[in-house]
């Protein structure tokens, strides 16, 4: 295979081995001991700290940073894990600039927050490297809970339930646990097989059985009634397994696929050089998925990558930090343009866009159009809920839950991306899984 960045079409091996290595290493290398100490010294130990408030899992940030600065990173890790058992992954993937770090008072004084995410990683890495699991189970309650989905929501729920003394079975449709931690997160955010290592570490709590390749509702696997028959309660953390379509003629041409599919393939590839990518890649969408697909195409050696969003950049769901990440990697971001046609003979050759403007009834297409050459197109215009059990009410495309994570079906809870309360963030999914577990515990022990 002697391809280069200039080769037309969707081909593998555009880079040499070194190129792949360089492009897919840790995007934010871990802090060394010295760096961590300096970073920790910057924390003011705020009262009722705004960063803690801004963390969806309410990690006691000032406390854990103080623990780092006094030379006890393991104690710091414990503080983190008490609130967020996936604190290791969150430290890598949280858009901290819009969460904890965005709220850090240092932003006000100097525009540079305390590096909370990096410090969180320093602490959690230190403890996890020891293969030390800081929690133990409460005496068995004799109750059992089914968790559907081994993503962040399901894992957080399962761990909390196990800790509280319940027997837990996690059912997941995929071959590996982790959910989007394993199949979605950009590879340079959590390299080195971190997602699987984290799951293995988490399962050390014990009393959690993971059943893989088991899809709720699939014939031969089981349905909600089966789960309710076998367990005292059910937690649904199924995420969003479908994708939105462009609804354009020519969408079925070859070369066009959902961005999530491409990313999952990339995450599972054992040899990145064998992964084909287009020379001229067009990504349609404006969220984290769009950015990740665009950047990773570029890193795989695509020559031209354009990310086209139908509204203004300021309205992009991807944070400013992520947009900048894309731009510095050479992705061109085109705003206020929506696809209107796909051209090509069998395979896509060009995508035609119309510029948009906001009108009285929302977004309007203008007559001004342009075409982008494309041999590969990734759709990243949102994911959708897969099939859900009939008894569980769905509103606006997501499972309806109350504040405690209860669905409309008795003994069934839900959390994470599949619910209307989800925010498409790992950390939010963790918070909801954990809180639903607490509520399940409460109900089971009361009844």
């Amino acid at each position: 295979m002697s391809h280069s960045q200039l080769t037309e079409g969707i081909v593998p091996g555009r880079l040499d081995t070194e190129g792949y290595c360089k492009n897919f290493t840790d995007v934010a290398p871990p802090l060394g001991v010295q760096e961590a100490r300096i970073a920790a010294d910057r924390c003011y130990f705020c009262h009722d700290a705004p960063c803690m408030e801004a963390c969806p899992t309410s990690i006691d940030v000032p406390l854990f940073i103080r623990q780092i600065s006094t030379g006890t990173p393991e104690a710091a890790a414990r503080t983190i894990f008490e609130q967020n058992i996936l604190g290791g992954m969150c430290a890598r993937v949280c858009p901290t600039e819009t969460l904890c770090e965005g709220a850090c008072v240092r932003m006000d004084s100097e525009g540079e927050p305390v590096e909370i995410g990096a410090l969180q990683r320093f602490a959690t890495d230190t403890l996890m490297a020891k293969q030390d699991h800081p929690f133990s189970r409460a005496p068995s309650t004799g109750k059992s809970v089914a968790v559907v989905g081994a993503g962040p929501a399901g894992l957080a729920a399962a761990h909390r339930l196990a800790m509280l003394g319940h027997e837990v079975t996690i059912y997941d449709a995929h071959a590996k646990p982790g959910g989007l931690n394993e199949y979605g997160i950009a590879s340079y955010k959590a390299p080195g097989g971190f997602a699987q290592a984290e799951v293995a570490w988490l399962l050390q709590i014990g009393s959690i059985t993971v059943v893989e390749n088991w899809q709720l509702g699939r014939k031969g696997d089981g349905d909600l009634a089966d789960l309710l028959g076998d367990h005292d309660a059910v937690f649904l953390g199924m995420g969003l397994s479908g994708v939105n379509a462009l609804r354009l003629e020519g969408e079925d041409k070859s070369g066009i696929r959902p961005a999530t599919e491409f990313i999952a393939e990339l995450r599972q590839a054992s040899d990145l050089a064998s992964l084909p990518v287009g020379r001229d890649v067009v990504v349609i969408g404006g969220g984290m998925t769009a950015v990740d697909a665009a950047v990773q195409s570029k890193l795989l050696g695509a020559l031209n990558v354009s990310l086209v969003y139908r509204r203004a950049r300021a309205e992009m769901p991807a944070s400013l930090h992520e947009q900048e990440h894309a731009l510095t990697h050479g992705v061109s971001i085109i705003e206020n343009a929506a696809p209107v046609a796909i051209h090509g003979n069998g395979a896509v050759r060009e995508v035609e866009f119309a510029y948009t403007r906001s009108g009285p009834d929302g977004l309007e297409m203008t007559d001004a159009t342009f075409r982008l050459p494309a041999d590969q197109v990734f759709k990243a215009i949102g994911q959708t809920l897969g099939d859900t059990p009939a008894k569980v009410e769905v509103a606006g495309g997501k499972i309806k839950v109350d504040g405690a994570g209860r669905t409309t079906a008795p003994r069934v809870w839900a959390g994470g991306d599949c619910t209307h309360a989800g925010e498409d963030l790992t950390v939010t999914a963790v918070a909801q899984g954990r809180d639903a577990a607490q509520d399940i515990h409460h109900v089971l022990m009361e009844g």
Partner: protein
């Protein structure tokens, strides 16, 4: 650039920043480089008597206290006086002084407490043409166990006696270096003056244990499993030193006695503060040991810029300027009422003032839902704690105008009045 030339007990130096007697001044190589870097003078590392020199430990001799980012705030040492032969030191002193006639070169001395020992060494020091001597009555460890250093400095009678010998047997100006390891610094200072000292210098180091090894259960620095108290110096000791300098400067018996200020001088500002409290010049050790000789350049530029700003043309205009304002608690104006006021535009909403006041003081700061912090004048006693803990220094103390009513006490702010006449003061009442 203001003129920083300074004259201290007749000894001239191009600026008032001298290196204190310590490792930075222990040999010719160091002192030459110090002068090249700009130091105005040095006090040579303390010399002992003729004969085999003292020995130092061969393990670690320093311990330290740190602030954020491992900034060294306090240093502790168990080093003794020079461990190099007397003749070598004297030869080097002579050679350096010959090459740097414009710089101050003082020789620090510590010999056993008998007249002959002092007489013998003074003759040899005079021969070097050094500008003066400093009597080390301060070293708190090691040498004190042998009846020297602070063992002398803690007994005013000895100070007076030795000082008198020195003045008798030498024509050189004599500075007496005082130990802070004493309850009232005025005693030793008065004794030095009585003995005929031309000046005192202070402080030497403070008895201390900086830390404990929690695995070996021994004080640090640890020498083969054991530790001993050492002498503490560096930024952390400055407040103690400033007070001692001020005590001597405002004592009726010692008023006017020249003082060389030592202890934690790290920046020009520290130096200026010592001088304002009565020090004619300052000596520096830890700052140089932490950052190297170049630190003096900031001290020089900073002091000179400050003097320009104040319109001072000679350092003597600064020396002692704050002394009249050092008073006793009983004379402080109890009708000076202030209230903390948060400059909202600069506040970063960290809440530290709130935590400090709410948890440990007077519950005088309110915190709103949206994290706006405001001072409750009716509770604020103006203690200044919030000002001290605010990381961005955005709290001011605002004086209440005379005639206004303090919402905390309901009393009208009146004219100057102090404790001596306060109704709650039993002695004041008794006097009536």
């Amino acid at each position: 650039m203001a003129d920083l030339r300074s004259e201290f007990i007749g000894i001239k130096s191009p600026n008032p920043f001298w290196l204190a007697s310590a490792p930075p001044t222990d040999k010719e190589y160091n002192v030459r480089r110090a002068f090249e870097a700009g130091w105005g003078g040095v006090v040579w590392k303390t010399l002992g008597s003729e004969g085999p020199p003292v020995v130092n430990v061969n393990g670690p001799r320093y311990g330290a206290i740190y602030g954020a980012d491992r900034r060294l705030l306090g240093l502790n040492n168990i080093e003794l006086i020079t461990d190099r032969p007397l003749e070598v030191n004297l030869r080097e002193i002579k050679s350096v002084k010959r090459d740097y006639p414009d710089r101050a070169l003082i020789v620090s001395l510590m010999v056993p407490c008998d007249e002959d020992s002092w007489k013998a060494i003074l003759a040899r020091v005079e021969d070097t043409e050094a500008d003066g001597v400093e009597l080390n009555f301060g070293c708190p460890h090691g040498m004190a166990e042998r009846g020297m250093g602070s063992a002398v400095g803690q007994v005013p009678e000895y100070i007076e006696m030795v000082t008198r010998w020195v003045k008798q047997h030498s024509r050189m100006p004599c500075i007496v270096k005082l130990t802070p390891n004493i309850s009232d610094i005025r005693g030793p200072a008065r004794a030095a003056k009585a003995g005929g000292a031309d000046a005192v210098s202070l402080i030497n180091t403070i008895n201390s244990i900086t830390s404990v090894d929690l695995d070996d259960f021994a004080p640090e620095p640890t020498i083969d499993g054991k530790g001993t108290h050492g002498g503490y110096c560096g930024p952390a000791v400055k407040p103690i030193a400033l007070n001692m300098v001020a005590e001597i400067a405002r004592d009726a018996e010692t008023a006017g006695l020249p003082i060389s200020g030592i202890g934690g001088v790290t920046t020009w500002r520290d130096g200026a503060e010592f001088m304002a409290l009565g020090a004619g010049n300052v000596q520096v050790c830890t700052a140089a040991m932490t950052y190297g000789f170049k630190v003096v350049q900031e001290m020089i530029s900073g002091l000179s810029e400050y003097m320009d700003r104040k319109g001072f043309t000679n350092t003597s205009e600064l020396v002692g300027r704050a002394v009249p304002n050092v008073t006793d608690w009983q004379y402080l104006n109890l009708n000076y009422v202030t209230k903390a006021e948060i400059v909202q535009d600069d506040c970063i909403k960290c809440g530290r003032c709130f935590a400090a006041c709410e948890d440990t003081s007077h519950q005088a700061i309110a915190m709103s839902e949206d994290r706006t912090f405001t001072v409750k004048d009716e509770e604020c006693v103006a203690c200044n704690l919030c000002v001290e803990v605010c990381p961005v220094d955005c709290i001011e103390m605002v004086q209440m105008a005379k005639g206004s009513v303090d919402p905390r006490t309901g009393e009208t702010v009146g004219d100057y009045a102090n404790w001596t006449t306060h109704p709650n003061n039993p002695s004041a009442t008794a006097a009536e």
